[in-house]
Point group: C2
Chain length 238, copies 2
């Protein structure tokens, strides 16, 4: 198994979006003396992500995730009954919450180790702008930024995975998709990529019921990123 | 002057393509017992770069620089009378010379300093694949890879500069183009970007006659990348 590049899902797989967004929401609402459940707000905001991308997949012209997040923020503020408390500028500022998400503790040391012998890049639905600022925030040592921003298509659209391979001038069989979401890996495997699953059982909090384990025979199933690196080192000697 | 991101020309500005390519050519021809002037070969190979890009600007469908370099290698091998000595696989290997170019000595320390407070990215005519591998070779600490690869257009086409700003979600006035080539900066300034000139008087060897100095009033003219960083730090306190 010759893997020359690893591409990564980011929200949930590399970073803890729920904790990060809730923290920013708590700061923004707290400063106004508003009392809301910031974790519930984060879940509601994120809950509008999939339906928004589905609109794009169904024919709406490609709109980057920053703009979709902003639309979804407006909706979520309304649902929580606090829309009148946030003007346009404040909403734009809060939308940057998605650029300030903490990496899971194993991610940076794991990526550094993986990068020593292979290209590493995000293959996220986030824009280049978002992924670039998120990388700076969390010290994610990417070699380049791939994903929806270069494909102008959202995962699991095959074009997103294939554009990442094309950009690196690599055959899909030499590229491994790493994700905490089984459906992401299904789509990547259908494009001919190698696959690695790393469970993130706290992505949705302690009550999480989805993606607690691998639901297919992925090429690698690893406990965390350093373990993924160790698996790859072993395999490369096969 | 609020500069949130710096984007860089790479061949000549960040890396010494002439020395790097000549070294790879010398190794490849030496291994076959061929005696050629490897620096002259590098100059001839590079000399076909501008005409090849001009074809694209004149209507040839976008073809990435790796493919153009390969076509130009075939031509150059013919001109040096050594075409029959290199099969397809060997030509493909030699084409990777463009991914193994030494940075000028000030570049890596300068980029590390600049990156501390601003986004840094290449805005080169090289592909994402080429720029990614070149960054790994030379430890260039880019935040992301911009340029022709995301614009599918070659500098000085305005789309290349504007696509870089768009990808970062920044107004051109908040992005600075850094180059050792005055014509690159003319085109960037026409798009509304800020400009910085850093002379590279040895890019074409000791007999260089072009771009030895700034030929316009660029926002910054600096001796090297650390000096550019110092200029920016001073200006940000204006």
């Amino acid at each position: 198994m010759q893997v020359e590049a690893l591409i990564f899902d980011v929200f949930g797989t590399c970073v803890d979006w729920r904790t990060g967004v809730a923290r920013e929401v708590a700061a923004a609402t707290g400063a106004k003396g508003l009392e809301i459940d910031s974790v519930a707000f984060a879940d509601a905001w994120r809950g509008l992500y999939e339906p928004a991308m589905q609109e794009i997949r169904s024919g709406r012209p490609y709109t980057d995730l920053d703009a979709l997040h902003r639309e979804n923020l407006d909706t979520t503020l309304g649902r929580f009954g606090i829309a009148t408390h946030f003007n346009d500028e404040e909403r734009a500022a809060l939308n940057h919450a998605w650029e300030k998400l903490p990496p899971w503790p194993d991610v940076v040391p794991g990526l550094i180790r993986l990068k020593a012998s292979r290209i590493i890049a995000p293959c996220s639905n986030g824009s280049i702008a978002l992924m670039t600022r998120l990388a700076r925030y969390g010290a994610l040592p990417w070699d380049c930024i791939l994903g929806a921003g270069i494909a102008r298509a959202y995962k699991p659209d095959p074009r997103t995975y294939l554009a990442a391979c094309d950009a690196l001038r690599l055959e899909p069989a030499h590229v491994m998709m790493v994700a905490a979401h089984n459906d992401d890996l299904v789509a990547a495997r259908d494009c001919g990529l190698k696959t690695a699953f790393v469970a993130r059982p706290l992505e949705h909090g302690t009550g999480q019921v989805t993606d607690l384990k691998a639901t297919s025979h992925w090429d690698i199933v690893a406990a965390d990123f350093p373990a993924l690196s160790a698996h790859l080192d072993l395999r490369s000697h096969d």
